[in-house]
Symmetry: C2
Subunit: 381 residues, 2 copies
């Protein structure tokens, strides 16, 4: 069996995003031991870099050895116990996934629903919390990867707090691309993913837990169902200093890559990165409109790093994306859940958020529309 | 903050082991999408390579997106339900970890204990199963990384079967280093790790589930506590063919590396790899004895890929290992649990199982003993 050589792709889907050469090369450095003093020093630096990316001073800031969904499981699994009531904001696939995880933890999940493509209504959250004074946690997604909506995280966290609830935020698609301010917004726990605006290969989930979250974890009546994601155990490895305990074998090379991706982010600066994502996104929005494509999310609530457009009438979703991949070497995403077959998800994330990539995408889409014989006016759906 | 550059190390501890340049370079190839047809083709190849490494035809053979402990959690979490009784063979840290996971799954764990450094007694397992006819699963570790003992997997699985129990095996430290024959031995579920005899960076857990294990998973009364490791969901992604479902974002680059590591194993051939581990181990055993070091495990039950020796009288464990690391650039492992401070664990695993590495280690240990002023005769404890 021959070695696997990946084809050339420009990744402009919902993630993974394009990974810079410096990050790829970092992952290819020789493996060292997960308890090597040099590696432990690297982990401490990495925790600081994650604190910077997530804008937090939380002592308990670490990286879960698994993809973003593992970060979700670590947060929900530690903050929720059987019998709890959790209010989950749900306006896309990942809000629904949070709800599923709450149910698996044996808790009651109260959904605050919103039409896909619209942000969660803070009044609806407030109302749900009034109706469920027994709720102890509010869970929500910041940038919904399935719809391209940016929920108002600061406001949702404030409402949770007003009702005496902790908050847990999915910021998988937002960290690095738009402002995420864990401490300023009063978010109690949050997780992100390596493979979106952090421009790192997929497989790691940086996460952070504030003092109130740690207090709740320490007061649990039962251990977490998962040993792998038990924060009480993990912190002894990630934050144990010189007396660090062995827990599991950390994914050494993947962590090299995340460290380098975050060094790159720090070199650019968060403000500059957010600004770049915004301006590249504006360029893409104009260009997509010029092609006759319709954005599904109102500008006021649009996640700039993930643009969702309707598949034009007369275009076969899967066939078009396959052509774009095979002929142009560009990946964009199809819809998820109710959006399947109806929308495309265009990611301008991390290293991939570049004007040149937007130009290449617009040119490629235009050529493929031409190949299908579609005229501009017909494309508007 | 500067880029992290790992120091030069020869990894001769209990894992991670030395990773060949070809594998490191494979991980540094450009990231592509986790739903890209080219990536899906790679996953199918990878499943076949894992089947080869584990000697199984099981359809449900996949790679868990996490380290070996995640593989453990996937196997136990899927095969165990609240109220079950599970017999766990325990003669080291990883048997105890299996027991902990059984308890977290809400089941009753019956331990079959054995002195550390000795293999599980099949008669004791048989006896425990007679006393607990309600048991539905037997869990055991093949090569105990904490002690260097090789348990008789074939016999333990046969006894489980005789009592109508399924078997789950931890073969994290054994696959690639000594014969592992899932189908021939009748093992129902097993997991390994990428970072030992497979010579790949840590962070992935190839796993396999036989028909009886799948039947049990399908007959579960409750969903698994973990969404991340729910085999019913994972198989739709890993074995779904063209109609593959999105589950989580696979760790694309890490999987490139595992694919290449397994291609290398297939090029060498399992028989040749087992033989190499055996002969390199013999060389190391003689050399360690010549240095006056005492092996803790009888040859008949010794895992050749992981030699455990007593720390000689008058030698400070941590200080000696630190000297070996700092001066000689060689990592060996300390003891775990009751072995902490008392034994060293010397791994000759995967790409690291080379005569030249043994010679380098013996020379380095000898120099460090000399530096401490220890004579050969004093070293025997």
């Amino acid at each position: 069996m021959p070695a696997f050589v990946p084809p050339n792709r420009l990744l402009l889907g919902p993630g993974p995003s394009a990974v810079p050469a410096r990050v790829l090369q970092a992952t290819a450095q020789p493996t060292i031991g997960h308890l090597d003093p040099a590696f432990i020093g690297m982990m401490d630096e990495l925790n600081d870099l994650v604190r910077y990316a997530m804008q937090t001073e939380n002592h308990c800031t670490l990286t879960i050895s698994g993809p973003g969904s593992a970060g979700m499981e670590a947060c929900i699994g530690n903050l929720v116990e059987a019998g709890d009531t959790v209010v989950v904001c749900r306006n896309g696939v990942f809000g629904e996934r949070m709800r599923q995880l709450v149910i698996r933890a044996g808790a009651t999940a109260i959904a605050v629903d919103q039409t896909w493509g619209e942000p969660i209504d803070p009044v609806a959250l407030d109302q749900a919390l009034r109706e469920h004074p027994e709720a102890s946690l509010v869970a929500f997604v910041h940038a919904e990867t399935s719809t391209g909506v940016l929920n108002d995280a600061e406001q949702l966290a404030r409402i949770a707090d007003e009702h005496g609830c902790l908050s847990v935020m999915d910021c998988v698609a937002s960290v690095g691309g738009v402002p995420v301010r864990i401490d300023e917004w009063g978010i109690d726990a949050a997780y992100t993913g390596s493979q979106k605006c952090l421009a790192c290969p997929p497989g790691l989930a940086p996460a952070t837990f504030g003092p109130r979250a740690i207090e709740r974890i320490q007061a649990r009546k039962t251990p977490t169902a998962s040993w792998m994601f038990d924060i009480s155990e993990l912190t002894r490895y990630w934050s144990g200093g010189a007396r660090r305990n062995y827990h599991h074998t950390a994914p050494v090379n993947a962590l090299y890559g995340l460290h380098e991706a975050l060094v790159l982010l720090r070199e650019e600066g968060l403000d500059a990165s957010w600004k770049r994502h915004g301006s590249v996104s504006s360029l893409a929005c104009s260009g997509l409109a010029d092609l006759g494509l319709q954005l599904t999310v109102n500008e006021a609530h649009r996640a700039p790093q993930l643009l969702v457009v309707q598949v034009p009438h007369g275009v076969d979703d899967a066939q078009f994306r396959r052509q774009l991949l095979d002929v142009e070497g560009i990946e964009i995403g199809g819809g998820l859940g109710p959006g399947a077959g109806k929308v495309w998800r265009i990611g301008l994330m991390g290293h991939g958020a570049r004007e040149a990539n937007v130009e290449r995408l617009l040119g490629a889409m235009s050529r493929q529309f031409d190949a299908l014989g579609l005229q501009g006016i017909e494309r508007a759906s």
